[in-house]
């Protein structure tokens, strides 16, 4: 694969279809710059700021855009509210659609056949694979990203964080909790 | 396949050698433990390589073409009618004959695996067991027939029978024109395996005239 990829890249650059520097820039962007930290900031703000929270659920794209996040795979963002009785989970059964703008590139498991096949049919089984068990009567809503809408789960704020700053709260928000396959960290879990 | 070159062929070859070795190993172990008798294995292989094959089904079809009473019995209850000619058994205990007419063409598939009327057709060909056939026969039979070079009139009804149980299906193709007075033996030569699955029509007299 290495050889074939390098070969194609060389040819495309030689023919002037792509520029080396642009490719390097793209790689740098998604390896280092855009990642789940963006989404964590959105969630932390929603935890402290009721007006932002309301805006976020009414118009995800605009609210998230106000923090400077958007663009590719973030043009149509919908925030999903986890509550004591409803747990949200996001998948793309057909390929790997994912809210890049707020979470970066998706992890391998999200794009894999096991997740894509089972999330919509056996979400509790999938959650168990992540070591997570929900109460029997919690409603689980699975969102299959079949169009250009991208979904961001807003997990519930952990207990024992009263008075915490946004900056500190960001540390608790894990990527998996924003996909719906994990919980945010507890205060005790921070180093 | 052709673009992948040497690496792919080597990989495929070594994969097959591994299978070969494992099969031999398992056979040795099973034989040493007395679970299987090598002479029985050889006999099973001989049966399906040489003895049981589409010639059986061709005889059934040829008889149905010549003998209207037999045809009626065959269509009413395939299993005993086929047993009359001497073919029976595993699997094929429950055989249903499907009559092609000018308005209706029958095709048989097993989407879930490879169920096939062994006693009258022998072991199924690779294409019958393949993903292309199993996936497309039920959805695009005309496309499949095109892969076989067969085009049916636009208004012919096509019935596809998915062999999901132990019922086995044998298509009874229409008797070709220009065969009046032919013997059963000669008629049997026109009946191809694929015409009894439903992916082809029988040969015509000029096909065997040379």
């Amino acid at each position: 694969m290495q050889l074939r990829t390098r070969a194609l890249e060389t040819i495309l650059i030689e023919k002037g279809y792509v520029e080396q520097a642009a490719i390097d820039q793209l790689i740098e962007t998604y390896e280092k710059k855009i990642g789940p930290r963006n989404g964590a900031q959105v969630v932390a703000k929603a935890w402290v700021d009721p007006k932002f929270r309301q805006w976020l659920f009414e118009d995800g794209t605009a609210a998230i855009g106000s923090l400077g996040f958007g663009g590719r795979s973030g043009n149509h963002l919908v925030a999903l509210e986890n509550t004591a009785s409803v747990h949200n989970m996001v998948v793309c059964t057909l390929c790997s659609c994912y809210p890049w703008a707020v979470l970066g590139l998706p992890p391998l498991w999200y794009k894999s056949a096991p997740y894509r096949s089972r999330a919509v049919a056996d979400p509790r089984g999938v959650l168990r694979d992540f070591g997570m068990e929900l109460p029997k009567d919690t409603e689980i809503r699975i969102w299959d990203s079949t169009a250009e809408l991208r979904y961001l789960v807003v997990p519930m704020r952990p207990a024992g964080t009263e008075g915490w700053s946004e900056g500190k709260l960001v540390e608790l928000v894990t990527r998996d909790s924003m996909i719906g396959t994990g919980r945010p960290k507890h205060p005790g879990e921070l180093p | 396949m052709s673009g992948q070159g040497h690496d792919h062929h080597d990989h495929e070859h070594s994969e097959l050698s591994e299978t070969q070795l494992r099969v031999r190993a398992l056979e040795t172990v099973l034989t040493e433990k007395g679970y299987v008798d090598p002479a029985a294995l050889d006999l099973l292989i001989e049966t399906y390589e040489k003895k049981v094959g589409p010639r059986n089904g061709a005889r059934v079809v040829a008889r149905a073409w010549i003998d209207p009473a037999y045809r009626a019995r065959l269509l009413k209850d395939g299993t005993p009618a086929i047993a009359e000619i001497g073919y029976a058994g595993r699997p094929g205990e429950h055989i249903v004959a499907l009559e092609n007419t000018p308005k209706l063409h029958n095709m048989v598939v097993c989407t879930l695996c490879s169920c096939y009327p062994w006693p009258v057709l022998g072991l199924p060909p690779v294409w019958y067991k393949s993903a292309p056939y199993r996936s497309r026969a039920v959805a695009d039979p005309r496309g499949v027939l095109a892969d076989f070079g067969v085009t049916l009139p636009k208004d012919t009804e096509i019935r596809i029978w998915d062999s999901t149980s132990e019922m086995r299906y044998l298509v009874l193709p229409m008797r070709p024109a220009g065969t009046e007075g032919w013997s059963e033996e000669k008629l049997a030569e026109l009946v191809t395996r694929d015409s009894m699955i439903g992916t082809a029509l029988p040969k015509s007299p000029k096909d065997i005239a040379k």
Binding site: A113 | V29, V36, L43, T164, D194
Partner: protein, 220 residues
């Protein structure tokens, strides 16, 4: 199970490619694998439904990339190992390392013709009556068992017509998993092509499956 084997209506597999003058077996090992499978069902103590499940029960990626007899052989290996008849280290070694287990029956050469001729009929006597009659409209249930079933996905939820009341037959969904034969009434059910494949599809197609009573609900 909704596995790789449930191929009806799936796309992307390309054209059907018949091989001219195809031999019955393509390799010596295929002959042995086939014969071993047939010969081991008696000593193995398993039934055909169990064998089918052993074949299909693997990741679809594997199922779709294995050849037919590779799948047969993989299932044979699995079943003989599961029943403690052989072990991995014996296969690696290429010969028996441990004493055999007692088995009920071994196929002798003298019995081959008779056994093949007798086959394995699946019809059973019953006191029950079939729920459906020829001409009845039925809906294939939306079942999605992880275990063995013979109701293909492409008909589930769709409405068809009873074409034939076949008889009372061994029920694979039970028989494959140690639930016994549990014979159920079996029907041939016919579906219009457009019911299955949509309003834009070929109007001249009809597809039938053989479905046991537990797969079907009445509908008008």
């Amino acid at each position: 199970m909704n596995g790789g084997q449930d191929l009806g209506g799936t796309h992307g597999h390309g054209p059907v490619k018949p091989e001219p003058n195809e031999p019955v077996f393509h390799d010596e090992w295929e002959k042995r694998a086939c014969a071993l499978t047939l010969a081991m069902s008696a000593p193995g103590g398993w039934n055909l439904d169990m064998v089918r499940f052993a074949r299909e029960n693997r990741p679809p990626r594997e199922y779709l990339s294995m050849t037919y007899y590779q799948i047969w052989f993989a299932a044979l290996e699995r079943m003989t190992k599961e029943r403690g008849l052989v072990s991995d280290d014996e296969i690696e070694a290429g010969h028996s390392l441990y004493p055999p287990k007692p088995v009920r029956r071994v196929l002798s050469p003298g019995d081959v013709a008779k056994t093949l001729h007798r086959g394995g009929p699946t019809e059973r006597d019953t006191n029950t009556k079939p729920v459906f009659a020829v001409g009845d409209k039925v809906r294939a249930k939306n079942i999605n068992p992880l275990t063995h079933t013979r109701l293909p996905r492409y008909v589930r939820g769709h409405v068809g017509t009873i074409e034939r009341v076949v008889g009372c037959h061994v029920f694979p969904d039970s028989n494959a998993h140690g639930g016994g034969e549990n014979p159920q009434w079996l029907y041939t059910v016919r579906f219009d092509g457009r019911e299955l494949w949509g309003a834009d599809s070929d109007a001249t197609i009809k597809v039938s499956v053989d479905a046991w009573e537990p797969y079907l609900s009445p509908t008008t």
